[in-house]
Amino acid sequence: MRWVCCVLLLLVTGVAILTSEESRSRAAITLSSADVFTMDPQRMSYMQDLRVARALFEGLCARDNTMGVATPGVALSWELSADGKTWTFHLRPDARWTNGDRVTSGDFRSAWRRLLLPDTAADYTELLFSIRGAREFFAWRSQALAAYVAGAVHDDAAAQALWAKTLEKFDELVAIRAPDDQTLIVELDNPLPYWLDLCAFPTLAPIHERSLAKWTRLNPTTGMVQSDAGWTKPGVLVTNGPMKLVEWRYKRGMRLEPNELYVGANAPLASSVEVVPIEDANTAVLAYESGSIDWISDLTAEYRADLAEASHRWRASHQTEFDFRIAAGATVDEALAALPAPDASRGERRDVHVVSAFGTDFWSFNCRPLLSSGRVNPFADARVRRAFAQAVDKRALTSSVTRLNEPVATTLVPAGSIAGYTSPSGLSFDVVRAREEMASAGWIDRTGDGIVENAAGEPFPPVDMLYMTGNPRVKNIANALAAMWRDALGVQCELRGKDGKFAKEDLRRGNFMVARGGWYGDYADPTTFLDLSRTGNGNNDRAFSSAPFDALLESAQRELDPQKRLAILSEAERVLVEEEMPILPLCQYVTLYMYDPAKVRGITRHPRLDQHLSQIRRVHDAPVSAMP
């Protein structure tokens, strides 16, 4: 038995050595979030990445946390030319990178050039296509790279020559100029009322080119510029935002601390912020309950509707006092914190917050004339799409299926989310009208078996409903929709759940009749949603194409008067949600936050949900004033 003891001793020693890691102090604020993918500002597109980037980088503009409007960032001031196309930004002279270097207009110019290179593989390249010459530059570089690969010579010299030519071409084509270190002039193709909002988007943040250059090389095989993994790590990454990255460990989380060289409006309020990825929803709740995290930035536990209900019940029992405090000018969190503490024994809580997000939950109709199987697609007919849309009782979905009472949506752009924009009314729940639409498309129950048939007597093909697995909410909605369509329209539905990549592939190939979708807006303009339905758009999974709709978007692009422009866009959306209906909007997305407003402040409830990690702080126990 000696050897058994030896093996055991060896194992125990190994375990002891491997777990002996120095314990670290807890950060002032700890939040759980989905895992961060990249800290390369030009490459990021996930919400959790953008949230951290907002603390690490500062663009020309920042976005105000309460109103959601663009405020000065690195640019102290700006002017717009009379024709509404040329913006001149004046950068603050005291803006510094974490290594002490000055932030210059050249840093913005090189970052935006990087965003425009197909080499960068940026999801948000198109955000800059409104700059004069940007689209041409992107197309030129794409073609030049393809020609390079097809050519005979693939060596360092050839790649270098192509790169030199690319720099020349950028100077020649793209209207981004940096006449001096503190001035940036940008010329747009058309007036863009939301341009400043774009300038606050983290993807348009500057980069410190000199530090990135050490990690960048030209690939002689493809001719492309490649940034190696590593330049975004703590100690290497040079940033200019209110906080700096002091630790980032793969899937273990990241730690941010104040950047002492930062000058600007968003100076950090907490001494450190830790972002930890906890994927299991129940573990996240338990970690919150035990006090090891302060804020769950996306509460996904299956029992979240019950938690939200407990918070709602507690608040409703103090509604008068709550309303009084809000009327007196308190924020929602201040008012909640001042109410009598919830009684846990009665199941009350005050830490679950249902906040509206700038996004719409929808289902897509496949608009292709033929299905991928080669059969005729009944949903190519707008009457059928309208019938299916009007047969859905969205109120019942949000109250009984998701149980979160999300605001019901009849439009794609969340109603009231963009100042000055009037949403069309869309189609409401009307089963009688829905059946009429089906009948006008030729689908009538001719045999009395409860299933609709066409004039040739063929029954409506089973509706192939594609959804991504992994989220019970989506499956529950799919089941409810299938039941509603069966009862109201006399059609059979077949649910087809697939994993993310597989479902995405089916969407791309048009292998579905209706499919689950959803979209979050990126900037304060209806086009952030409406562009989805433009002919040929890369995110137009439905392959929807309508000449009148495209023409309206084009005409809005040319319109100089902002009010008229919004009116044109409103008409475009009306065509979409009242006539063509390629997308069936169900409800506005909500996000569930879990934090105690008596302990943590600075989390915004503005629908854009652009959280500034630098502005979140811990509340020090202060006496709460009683209601007079």
Binding site: M1, W3, V4, V7, L8, L11, V12, G14, V15, L18, T19, S20, E21, F37, T38, M39, S45, Y46, P118, D119, T120, A121, A122, D123, Y124, T125, F138, S142, L145, A146, V149, N219, T222, M224, Q226, A229, G230, T232, K233, R249, Y250, K251, R252, V276, E279, D280, N282, T283, A284, L286, A287, S290, S292, G500, K501, F502, K504, E505, G538, N539
Partner: protein, 321 residues
């Protein structure tokens, strides 16, 4: 013996090459493009450029380049700076697969080693109790518990342990990684199925051994039942456990997706499953290679221990002398 070891180690590169080719073929068949997100799509030109950049437009070019990088040939030719470069993760552009394995493997290995140690202790005790007194009340109890251990999925036992010991009794932290106390619950959760297997294997081994001639002789010489078992039966009864331990240790050390997810532990098992779902080709292949290498090494260790414990056993490699 030396011949066996050398031969197995020389076979290792061939085994790994087969693993690379088979894994690559399977991963390549997953639909979709690893460079594309589920949400917003980049312009098609970007997708094409990326396919060229990562050789995603040609499986032969991809596999050729990959083999050159991981084998060290690329390093010799000066293509890359590290000799065994698994390349960048396709899903997490800021991390290389080497970095991810370096970060995740020690975590999984710790939990795996700990779990095997705990499983050995629990399984041996339970197996001894049952094997020495088959049919007794104790035997029934330990075997029932073992059956539950095998049958209950880890996410049930893990969640139960976390609620009881972390949330209610507050003896251990809820999850995460970095301190020894955070390792205990995941280790225990992971150990239970292994412990159950060991208990059952050892019990059957002991029952079988107790009926052999040499044990009967030992009893006839006057040894008590437990003395005879301890001195003569246990060693042979342990052989099936030993052959189970090789692959079990490799499996435990390369991480369990469920345990790592429930306890928010940043180990290799979680990375692997997520990589498969995201078609992160380089990460999947990196993790599979580590697993394959461990499997070969642990099987070799088990074979060597076999010969050491039971000199009657001659292995194929040893016979070849």
């Amino acid at each position: 013996m030396m011949h066996l070891i050398v031969r197995r180690l020389l076979q290792l590169p061939m085994v790994l090459l087969c693993v690379v080719v088979v894994t690559f073929t399977l991963v390549w068949l997953i639909p979709g493009n690893p460079m594309q997100n589920e949400g917003r799509q980049p312009p098609p030109e970007v997708a094409e450029a990326m396919d060229r950049q990562y050789s995603l437009d040609s499986p032969v070019a991809f596999l050729g380049g990959y083999l050159a990088h991981i084998s060290g040939v690329g390093w010799v030719l000066g293509w890359n700076e590290t000799p065994f470069d698994f390349g960048p993760s396709m899903r997490h552009p800021d991390w290389t697969v080497n970095e991810i394995i370096r970060a995740g493997f020690p975590v999984s290995a710790t939990i795996g080693l700990g779990a095997i140690a705990i499983a050995l202790v629990i399984g041996t005790v339970a197996g001894l109790v049952g094997g020495l007194r088959p049919g007794s009340w104790w035997d029934g109890a330990t075997q029932s518990v073992a059956l539950v251990g095998i049958s209950l999925p880890s996410f049930v036992t893990g969640s139960f342990l976390i609620v009881l010991f972390a949330a209610k009794l507050r003896i251990f932290p809820i999850g995460g990684w970095g301190s020894p106390s955070q390792a205990i619950l995941p280790m225990v959760t992971l150990s239970l199925p292994f412990a159950a297997y060991i208990a059952r294997l050892l019990r059957f081994g002991l029952i079988e051994q107790m009926h052999t001639d040499h044990l009967r002789t030992a009893r006839a010489k006057g040894l008590s039942r437990s003395q005879a078992a301890w001195r003569h039966a246990l060693k042979n009864a342990f052989l099936p456990v030993l052959s189970f331990l090789g692959p079990a240790t490799a499996a435990a050390m390369t991480g369990s997706f469920v345990v790592e997810k429930v306890f928010a532990v940043p180990g290799l098992g979680r990375h692997f499953v997520e990589a498969v779902l995201a078609k992160d080709i380089t990460l999947v292949m990196g993790v599979v290679l580590v697993y394959a290498a461990l499997l070969v090494v642990f099987n070799l260790v088990v074979d060597v221990l076999y010969v050491w414990i039971d000199p009657r056993i001659e292995l194929a490699g040893a016979q070849a002398r």
